[in-house]
């Protein structure tokens, strides 16, 4: 194939080409990349070509990401509830701690544009067990069942008779904040939520609380009689759009059919299998390093203002992964939202959960983040330190970790 290969006496230049040819190629492509590509090609082949076809064809990633986010949402509920020592709220927490199964409805909306633009609301029903199982049923008929302990997820789309089988490999076995939310109710301790006093919600008397967790604003209404939450609202900003997730219709220990968490795929479905390698997040210090490294790589070397605020991290992922189809009014539509994070971004965000878990194991004054305003060029600066049983450890601006003789001021 190469009769012209040595056509000129340019040994010097050839050494550069030789270096490039000699790059050690890592194993690949991964099964996930292959599966994604096959799905995208099949879908694209069935459609008339247009520039948006690729976005539409990888929608199954949207489902996967949505599932992960929904489970994360359930974890948020747990975290918020555990962060209040208020008597009434503590009773609510105690009530939740005692349940084995909980169902609730989650409605995601864009309140600022919902009145003027249709299709601004997504609604889904979740059933979550204390055994790490979650079933999510969307109003559009898509059903997702996740087993967080095994990392096995099945998504069924009846309209197209399509199933996505996803295996998240290397799921952490113990004490992971992204796992079983009900177990987190029983283990975590936190800071108090603010008791906002008595209020009315959905026609019922309630005790109202608010809290700020990981950069998100949370409002919780609880029934003082039953000690159960009535409604929980979480608001976040995504690419300048305010998005609110409301959790309502809580039902504790409901009667559930035997197949509520079945991952069986009906006959006649086209199955696509994908795999996602979870990074090892058992090393807390390493999680901090990798989270900050990922941020710096995405921002030209800068570090975030806060370590435990999810907003800036999500913004970086969303900027690349989230798109809104424009409506006639040019207002972004929630129903037309496409969230397509890369495998690398998802792995990076997993580090965030690892950091949260790590910080949760440290006493309140047992760590400090000092990276605000610093960059990777500040090699001699300590940007994070934490207390160990023997002394202190620090992470420097160049993201190396070292033992410290004293706490940096």
């Amino acid at each position: 194939m190469n009769e012209n290969y040595s056509d000129s006496p340019d040994e010097g230049l050839e050494s550069y080409f030789s270096a490039m040819r000699g790059r050690t190629v890592p194993d690949g492509p991964s099964e996930m990349r292959i599966a994604e590509t096959i799905v995208a090609l099949r879908a694209a082949a069935e459609k008339k070509p247009n520039i948006f076809s690729r976005v539409n064809n990888v929608k199954f990633i949207t489902g996967m990401a949505a599932s992960v986010l929904l489970v994360a949402g359930a974890v948020f509920v747990a975290v918020v509830m555990l962060r209040s020592p208020e008597v009434t709220f503590a009773e609510v927490v105690e009530r939740v701690r005692s349940v084995r199964l909980v169902s609730f409805v989650e409605t995601v909306s864009m309140p600022e544009t919902a009145k003027t633009v249709p299709g601004q609301t997504m609604r889904m029903k979740l059933l979550v067990s204390d055994q790490g199982l979650a079933s999510i049923q969307s109003d559009e008929g898509v059903r997702t069942v996740m087993d967080e302990k095994t990392g096995h997820m099945v998504e069924l789309m009846p309209k197209t008779k399509t199933a996505i089988v996803m295996d998240m490999k290397n799921m952490p076995k113990q004490s992971n904040v992204s796992q079983d939310p009900l177990e987190q109710f029983k283990k975590l301790e936190g800071e108090p939520a603010n008791d906002m006093g008595k209020a009315q919600i959905d026609g019922r008397k309630a005790e109202k609380f608010n809290a700020k967790v990981m950069g998100q604003e949370w409002v919780i209404w609880a029934d003082p009689q039953t000690r159960e939450p009535i409604r929980i609202d979480m608001t976040m900003n995504v690419m300048g759009q305010k998005i609110t997730a409301s959790m309502t219709d809580f039902d504790f220990d409901p009667a559930a059919p035997d197949d509520a968490f079945s991952q069986e795929i009906p006959k006649g479905y086209t199955v696509t299998s994908v795999a996602f390698d979870m990074p090892d997040i058992s090393n807390g210090e390493q999680n901090v390093v990798e989270l900050l490294r990922g941020y710096a790589q995405r921002t030209g070397g800068k570090f975030p203002d806060k370590l435990d605020d999810m907003g800036p991290y999500m913004k970086l992922v969303m900027q690349k992964s989230l798109s809104f189809s424009k409506t006639a009014t040019t207002t972004p539509s929630l129903a037309a939202m496409h969230f397509t994070p890369s495998s690398g971004d998802m792995q990076w965000m997993t580090r965030f959960w690892g950091v949260q878990q790590f910080l949760g194991t440290l006493p309140k004054d047992g760590w400090r983040y000092l990276g605000k305003g610093k960059t990777m060029d500040d090699k001699e600066s300590v940007i994070f330190w934490y207390k160990t049983g023997k002394g202190y450890r620090g992470i420097m601006g160049d993201l190396t970790a070292t033992d410290l003789q004293a706490v940096p001021q």
Partner: protein
């Protein structure tokens, strides 16, 4: 009907290698891999595909070159290449090779895209002028001329960056 699974599984590793040799970073390959196959699908709608392997390698090379050009688009050529060259004091051969590949990667972005593609297919994939011409729609002689000029430009760029002849920087 095209068997996409066979095509992806059969040619995926070749596309992967082609992308990696040029890009050198896994994160960049991930973005280009699916784009390569989708672009090939679009091309197959317009023309009969005689050899998927050749088409996919061509498209992968094009995607990789585009990716590199975007990566270095807004940077000053001399600054970028000098910055890389300053790190060549590492005595290990592996480090030296990595630096050489990085320098060539950057210098390649200063060439016209089509010329860079032809050089990559010739020097990295071992294609003949005729084979390149068939894929890029050029005559063999035009390919030869383009590659000759492109290599000359690469020599100049690398000489400027190192202050010496290419290959004599170690």
């Amino acid at each position: 009907m095209t068997d996409w699974e066979s095509i992806v599984r059969g040619h995926g590793p070749t596309v992967w290698r082609t992308l990696f040799r040029l890009l050198g970073r896994r994160a960049d390959i991930d973005e280009c891999f699916q784009e390569t196959f989708l672009s090939a699908l679009e091309m197959s709608r317009r023309q009969k595909v005689v050899c998927w392997s050749a088409l996919l390698q061509t498209v992968a090379t094009r995607k990789a070159v585009d990716r590199l050009r975007r990566k270095y688009r807004d940077r000053e050529e001399s600054v970028v290449i000098e910055a890389m060259a300053s790190g060549m004091s590492d005595p290990s051969r592996a480090a030296e090779e990595a630096e050489r590949a990085g320098l060539l990667e950057q210098a390649m972005t200063r060439l016209p895209a089509r010329q860079a593609e032809a050089i990559c297919l010739h020097a990295l994939s071992g294609w003949s002028y005729q084979e390149i011409g068939q894929q890029l729609g050029m005559s063999s002689s035009a390919v030869g001329t383009s590659i000759h000029r492109g290599k000359q430009r690469l020599r100049e760029l690398l000489e400027v960056s190192l202050g010496t002849e290419p290959g004599g920087a170690s």
